[in-house]
C-alpha cells in the first residue's frame, strides 16, 4: 500500500534518512521507533511529499507520492496526524472537524463522534482552549474526517496522561480493525508495541530492525538502539 524504496534525505550536511526501504501492507499496523533525531518524523513527512530534496521513491497504491503538494496526497487518502496537537486553534471543535472533512463528501462525523464522544460534548469549544489530550483526540478525529485509507501518526501520546494514552491507543486499534492501515511513530514504546504487530526501528536514519513486535522485545541490545 505504501512503499519506500531507497529513500535518502539530507539536511545541511546531516543525513537524516539513509537508504530506507520498506512496504506497508493494506490493513497493517506498523510502529516506527527510534530516539530523537533518528529520522522518524522525516520518514512520515516523506509519505505526504513534504520533504524537500528527498531522493528515492515513495509510492502509494503503486502511484508515486506527489512532491511539494501535500494537499493532493491528502486527497488521495493518506492521512497524517502531525506531532504537537495540530488543530486549528482559533476554530471550534465542530469547525475543526468540518474543515477537515470538506474534501471528503459524505462525512464521517458520526463515526468520529462514536469513537470520540468527547468531541461531540466539546463541539462549540475553541480548539486552542482544549486540554492537550483533547487536542490530540481532535487531531485524530480530524484526520478520520478525511476518510483516510492509511493513517500516519506522529507521536500521538506525547504530553498525554497515561489514562488518555490508553484511550487513544484503543481508538487506534478500533480504527485499524475497521480496515484502515495505521503507521505510528512513538516514543511510548510499551503502549505502541501493544498496538502494532510490526515494528521498524530507526537509528541515525537507518533501519536497524524491521519485524514482528514480539521479536523486538526479545532483542538483547535494545538499549543501544535508543
Amino acid at each position: 500500500m505504501l512503499t519506500y524504496s531507497n529513500v535518502n534525505v539530507n539536511y545541511g550536511g546531516l543525513p537524516v534518512l539513509r537508504d530506507i526501504s520498506f512496504k506497508v501492507e493494506e490493513g497493517e499496523c506498523v510502529a516506527i521507533l527510534g530516539h530523537n533525531g533518528a529520522g522518524k518524523t522525516t520518514l512520515l513527512k516523506c509519505s505526504v511529499g513534504d520533504v524537500e530534496g528527498a531522493t528515492g521513491a515513495v509510492s502509494y497504491r503503486g502511484e508515486p507520492v506527489v512532491r511539494g503538494a501535500v494537499f493532493m496526497n491528502s486527497r488521495r487518502g493518506i492521512g497524517l496526524v502531525p506531532q504537537g496537537h495540530n488543530v486549528f486553534r482559533q476554530l471550534t471543535v465542530r469547525q475543526n472537524l468540518g474543515v477537515a472533512g470538506l474534501n471528503s463528501p459524505g462525512g464521517a462525523l458520526d463515526d468520529v463522534y462514536r469513537l470520540f464522544p468527547v468531541l461531540e460534548q466539546r463541539g462549540s469549544q475553541i480548539a486552542g482552549s482544549l486540554s492537550g489530550g483533547q487536542q490530540q483526540i481532535l487531531a485524530l478525529g480530524m484526520s478520520l474526517m478525511t476518510k483516510p485509507s492509511i493513517l500516519l501518526l506522529d507521536e500521538p501520546s506525547t504530553g498525554l496522561a497515561p489514562v488518555i494514552v490508553n484511550d487513544v491507543m484503543d481508538s487506534l486499534r478500533q480504527i485499524n480493525n475497521s480496515g484502515t492501515t495505521v503507521v505510528i511513530v512513538e516514543q511510548n514504546i510499551p503502549a505502541t508495541l501493544k498496538l502494532a504487530s510490526r515494528a521498524i526501528v530507526l537509528k541515525a536514519g537507518r533501519t536497524v530492525f524491521d519485524g514482528a513486535s514480539r521479536e523486538l522485545a526479545r532483542k538483547e541490545d535494545l538499549w543501544t538502539w535508543f
Binding site: 539536511y11 545541511g12 546531516l14 530523537n36 533525531g37 533518528a38 522518524k40 522525516t42 524537500e52
Partner: protein
C-alpha cells in the same frame, strides 16, 4: 561640471545614509523604516542651531547627530522589545508621528520648512569643498562601519543576528548591542542630515517622508545588504540613474514616471535575480531570518 559635483554631493550624502541604514538593518538585523526621521532630526537640529544661535557648522552638525542618537535610543528602548514585523510597524508609527510633529510646529517652519540656513562656504569653490567634506565623511562612514562590523564588535553583531538565543547564552547582552548599533546608525544619519541642511540651505518635511526609507532600503538591498560596499554601489546607482535619465530629454510628462518605472523595474529584477544584491556575492538571503537549509536543519532533529 558644477552640476555633476552637486549630484556627487548628493550621492555622498546618500552613501552615508545607505551605509548607516545598512549597519542597522543589514548587519544589525533590526528591521526599521524610521531612518529618514533621524536624517530629518539631524538636518533640522543643525539648521535651527545655525540660524538662531549662529553656531559654527561643525558644532551644529554634531549637535544634530546627538539629537538623532538620543531619539534613536528612545525609540530603541520602547520598540526593540518587539521584533520583526512589529518593529517595522512601530518604527513606521514613530517616523510618521515625529514628522507630523515637525510639520505642525512653527519653529520648524511647519510644512514649508526652513530656508534661511546660513551659508558656511562662499565662492566658486563652494561645491568642490562640500564635495570634499561630504565625500570624506562618506568614506569615513564606510570605513568606520567596515571597522565596526569586521572587528570583535562586528563579530558580536553578526552572531547576535544569526542566533540571538545562543548568543545570549554565551554571555553576550543582545539588547545592549542592538541599542548601540541602532544609535550609531541613526547618529550617522543625523550627520548626513546636517550636511544636507548646510549644503542645500533648505530643509522641509517632504524630504523625510517615509517613502524615502523605501528608497534607502532599495539602495541597501540593491547593492547588497550586509556588505560594506553594497550600500555605496546602491546609493550611487539610485541617485545617478534618475539623473542620467533626465539627460535623455524625454517630455516631462513621460520623464517622471519613466524614471520611476525604470527604477522600480530594476529593483524588482535585482530582487529576484540577485536577492543578495550586486555586491552580495555568495552570502545568502539572510536578512530577516535564516535560510531554508538552516531552518530545516534546525528542525531536522525531529
Amino acid at each position: 561640471m558644477e552640476y555633476i559635483l552637486t549630484i556627487m554631493v548628493l550621492i555622498a550624502i546618500f552613501v552615508i545614509l545607505a551605509s548607516s541604514y545598512n549597519l542597522v538593518i543589514g548587519y544589525g538585523g533590526l528591521a526599521t523604516v524610521a531612518h529618514p526621521i533621524f536624517y530629518a532630526l539631524g538636518a533640522y537640529t543643525s539648521a535651527l542651531l545655525g540660524i538662531h544661535f549662529g553656531l559654527p557648522a561643525v558644532v551644529c552638525v554634531l549637535a544634530g547627530a546627538i539629537v538623532a542618537i538620543v531619539a534613536s535610543v528612545l525609540l530603541a528602548l520602547s520598540a526593540l522589545r518587539v521584533a520583526g514585523d512589529y518593529l517595522l510597524i512601530a518604527s513606521l508609527g514613530f517616523q510618521l508621528g515625529l514628522l507630523q510633529v515637525i510639520k505642525n510646529f512653527e519653529f520648524t517652519g511647519g510644512p514649508g520648512g526652513i530656508s534661511a540656513i546660513p551659508n558656511t562656504i562662499t565662492g566658486p569653490w563652494r561645491t568642490p569643498v562640500y564635495l570634499l567634506i561630504c565625500g570624506s565623511i562618506a568614506a569615513l562612514t564606510v570605513w568606520l562601519i567596515a571597522r565596526i562590523v569586521h572587528g570583535p564588535y562586528g563579530r558580536a553583531i553578526t552572531a547576535m543576528r544569526d542566533e540571538e538565543l545562543a548568543f545570549s547564552a554565551l554571555g553576550r547582552n543582545a539588547m545592549t548591542i542592538k541599542v548601540v548599533v541602532f544609535a550609531i546608525g541613526c547618529g550617522i544619519a543625523g550627520i548626513a542630515g546636517g550636511l544636507y541642511a548646510f549644503y542645500f540651505q533648505y530643509v522641509s518635511p517632504e524630504q523625510f517622508e517615509v517613502l524615502h526609507s523605501a528608497a534607502m532600503l532599495t539602495m541597501v538591498v540593491l547593492g547588497g545588504m550586509g556588505t560594506t560596499m553594497g550600500p555605496v554601489v546602491g546609493a550611487v546607482m539610485l541617485i545617478a540613474i534618475p539623473q542620467a535619465i533626465t539627460f535623455l530629454n524625454l517630455p516631462p510628462a513621460v520623464m517622471a514616471p519613466m524614471q520611476g518605472i525604470i527604477f522600480t523595474t530594476l529593483v524588482m529584477l535585482f530582487l529576484f535575480l540577485r536577492p543578495a544584491g550586486l555586491v552580495g556575492g555568495l552570502s545568502k538571503d539572510r536578512m530577516a531570518g535564516r535560510t531554508a537549509t538552516e531552518k530545516s536543519s534546525a528542525g531536522a532533529a525531529e
